[in-house]
């Protein structure tokens, strides 16, 4: 079926973009790849019939999150240093592969016989049936805003601290050096 082919293509490309986003040494390309993942996922969502979520995903996931990431990058500067992994990569790969295979195998029966689809309008479900979720979400957003304000608002703007200046940074440096040595051994 042609539909299957589309889905497979989209999944693979999304996986590839995700991989690029994860592997890239530069943060800006990473953010852009993430936006691609988001766009591809929203296409899949659309094809599945979840039109509204597809729009939300496209605007929030691909748009807002990317903007936020880029904004954070611009605040921080060009600290895009992403050195070698601490965990041996084969171990990480094995762990993830085994878990993913097991999860995939166990989840498979779920999709083997899909039920007939009862179409319901998102707005109805979200605002009527799931109104309580929305209320809790308001609390969550409030907490998040408080968090950002609490973390970032500065009464006085202190000098930015650069590496090697604080004692903690020095300690951290020592640990990092040690970790790096362990990786290379």
């Amino acid at each position: 079926m042609i539909e299957n082919f589309y889905y497979l293509f989209l999944s693979l490309v999304a996986g590839f973009c995700a991989y690029r986003a994860m592997i890239s040494k530069q943060l800006l390309p990473s953010a852009l790849y993430l936006a691609c993942v988001s766009a591809l996922v929203s296409v899949m969502l659309y094809m599945l019939g979840a039109h509204e979520v597809a729009v939300i995903e496209l605007s929030v996931g691909a748009g807002l999150v990317t903007v936020l990431l880029v904004y954070a990058l611009s605040v921080i500067g060009d600290d895009t240093y992403d050195p070698t992994s601490i965990i041996p990569k084969p171990l990480a790969f094995l762990l993830v592969a085994a878990t993913a295979l097991l999860v995939g195998w166990m989840a498979y029966p779920l999709v083997s016989q899909p039920a007939a689809n009862g179409e319901v309008l998102l707005a109805n479900v979200l605002w009527k049936q799931r109104a309580l979720d929305v209320w809790v979400q308001v609390a969550l957003i409030f907490s998040g805003v408080m968090g950002v304000l609490g973390l970032l608002s500065e009464k006085t703007h202190p000098q930015e601290i650069h590496p090697h200046e604080t004692q903690a940074a020095a300690e951290g440096e020592a640990i990092a050096v040690q970790i790096e040595r362990e990786i290379h051994v």
Binding site: S85, I86, I87, L91, L95, V96, A98, T99, L102, M106
Partner: protein, 582 residues
């Protein structure tokens, strides 16, 4: 009336503990006075309780599901030990007035002493296993606090922790026993356990029996838990008298005596008890032969004498064991306290630095000799009667090899007792220590205990009568004084024992001029390491700490590894579930 007295016996020391905790260290006189007043009041109440001894449950207070009722029973066994704990405890408090003069933090000291006495009486009077365990744990806590009273001294702190951990590990046995009893019989009442032990499945009953034995051995510092008691000697000396004569170590023997009727028929239990008693009595007597620290020597002798009591229970002589417990409590308190008087004025515990102190402290010397003779088991002091009774029970009903072992122990006891006395009070002056005789309050306590050492054996008749009357499950053989005397003096075993004791004395007399007994290296080693068990303890502790520090490496503090932990756990749980569902 009995209910009120029980309330007083437990409540007065605890009330005193709370009051003393709140006193200020700037008023030492007030603290001494209050402590003496509360402890003596408790002592009087405990004596007044004796006539009310009965097998009935006196107080019952429901505590809600899973906890049973808080009950108290003042039977013969309980009231006797209560009286020992309170009276000798109060004498130790009186002694402390002189001994602890000028010390800091008296509020903490006296508060814990009184808490200890109250907890001990609670443990003895409790008729409910849960609350027995409850009080059991409090005595452990108090002993910890008192042993490490000099808490700036690392040795005292280490000794306290050691005592706490070892007795608590043993306490798990009592916990298991109490839980099993509740799970099988649906009740925590000790009387129910004694009555219905036969109805429990054999394996379950054995679990309870050996659990209780482990707990008793740990508390009474019996083999293989005997290592904590010598290290506990870092405590102030009145505490040593309190813990090692009047209260804590008796709890183990009490426990065995209390549950004897329930476990008597558990296969191997009596033999195990006998062996534990025998081994403890022998190895610690051996360690006492070479000890040079006065208090440690006394501590070893305590474990050894407790071994006699445990042995007596193992061979079925419950009365003999309790009678020896009574004698031992009196003469050992006397010994500890007179040793305390010596240590207090000499400023050292090393017997090799003492010598010929007798002339300068005649009172202490006299009472110490009295106690020592009782410990050695010479007639007609209380130690003689009870020890002979124990040995006779052993010969009558126990295996012969165990009896011979205990005889050997009696000879060793005579040897080290005389050695101690000689090293401290006689011989040549090895170091000119400026000593003075015991103070006034010390003399009061010592004098009373000396009188007790001379006379408590006269109580044998009424004591036996009371146990017989109030312990329905124990079938105690009644024995009045003249029967006792008759039995002991006509039995050939008595003379054999006396001969062995005399033999021990003679041997020491022959080597008295080299009292340090150019110890063989192996003897020293065995004593220092408590026959290897101290080494074992250290190994367990060191391995645990080592394992912990290896484990610390798992907390890398690096986020990547933390997330790997999450994924790894997910994988493990998935594998477990797939395996268990299939």
């Amino acid at each position: 009336m009995a209910a009120i007295l029980i309330g007083l016996v437990i409540g007065l020391p605890w009330l005193g503990a709370i009051v003393l905790w709140r006193t200020r260290d700037e008023t030492p006189r007030l603290q001494h006075t209050l402590a003496v007043a509360f402890s003596i009041a408790a002592g009087v109440a405990s004596l007044a309780l004796i006539p009310f001894a009965s097998a009935e449950t006196v107080i019952s207070f429901p505590m809600g599901r899973f906890f049973g009722s808080l009950t108290f029973t003042a039977d013969g066994l309980a009231v006797t030990l209560t009286a020992i704990a309170c009276v000798i405890g109060s004498l130790a408090v009186v002694f402390s007035v002189d001994y602890m003069r000028g010390e800091e933090q008296l509020s903490r000291y006296y508060a814990f002493v009184l808490l200890f006495i109250g907890a001990m009486t609670g443990l003895l009077l409790s008729g409910n296993l849960l609350f027995m365990f409850f009080f059991w744990e409090i005595t452990a806590l108090c002993s910890y606090a008192l042993i490490s009273f000099y808490n700036d001294d690392p040795k005292a702190v280490a000794g306290g922790i050691k005592a706490l951990i070892i007795t608590q590990v043993g306490g798990v046995g009592l916990l298991a026993g109490a839980l099993t009893t509740y799970a099988t019989l649906g009740s925590y009442q000790i009387s129910d356990l004694l009555a219905d032990a036969g109805k429990m499945p054999a394996g379950i009953l054995a679990l309870v029996a050996f659990g209780v034995l482990a707990a008793a051995a740990a508390k009474s510092a019996q083999f293989p838990f005997h290592t904590w008691l010598p290290d506990a000697m870092e405590a102030p000396t009145p505490i040593s008298a309190l813990i090692h004569a009047a209260t804590m170590v008796n709890a183990g023997v009490y426990l065995l005596a209390r549950f004897y009727p329930a476990f008597e028929h558990v296969p191997g239990w009596k033999l195990s008890v006998t062996v534990v008693g025998l081994v403890s009595a022998l190895i610690t007597a051996f360690m006492a032969l070479t000890a040079t620290d006065l208090k440690r020597a006394l501590a070893y002798s305590t474990v050894s004498q407790l071994g006699y009591m445990v042995y007596a229970i193992g061979v079925g002589g419950v009365f003999a064991s309790q009678f020896h417990l009574l004698s031992h409590a009196v003469f050992k308190a006397l010994l500890f306290l007179s040793a305390g008087a010596v240590i207090h004025s000499a400023g050292t515990r090393d017997m090799l630095r003492m010598g010929a102190l007798g002339k300068q402290m005649p009172f202490a010397r006299n009472v110490f000799i009295l106690g020592a003779l009782a410990l050695a088991g010479l007639p007609i002091l209380n130690g003689f009667w009870s020890k002979e009774l124990v040995l006779e029970a052993g010969l009558d009903r126990g295996p012969l090899w165990a009896y011979i072992g205990m005889l050997l122990g009696a000879g060793m006891t005579a040897f080290y007792t005389l050695r101690m006395t000689w090293l401290v009070f006689f011989g040549e002056v090895r170091e000119s220590l400026h000593v003075h005789d015991a103070g006034k309050a010390m003399k009061v306590s010592l004098g009373l205990l000396a009188v007790g050492t001379l006379t408590t054996w006269l109580l044998a008749g009424p004591f036996g009568e009371m146990l017989h009357e109030t312990l329905p499950f124990h079938s105690i053989h009644r024995l009045n004084l003249s029967e006792l005397a008759h039995e002991i003096f006509t039995a050939p075993a008595t003379y054999v024992a006396l001969l062995v004791v005399a033999f021990g004395l003679v041997i020491f007399w022959m080597v008295r001029n080299q009292p340090t007994v150019k110890n063989e290296a192996w003897m020293d080693f065995l004593s220092r390491e408590s026959f290897g068990f101290d080494w074992l303890n250290r190994q367990v502790a060191a391995r645990t700490v080592q394992f912990a520090s290896v484990l610390q490496k798992t907390q890398t503090g690096v986020l990547s590894w933390n997330v790997a932990g999450i994924l790894g756990a997910l994988l493990a749980v998935l594998i477990f579930l797939v395996w268990s569902v299939r």
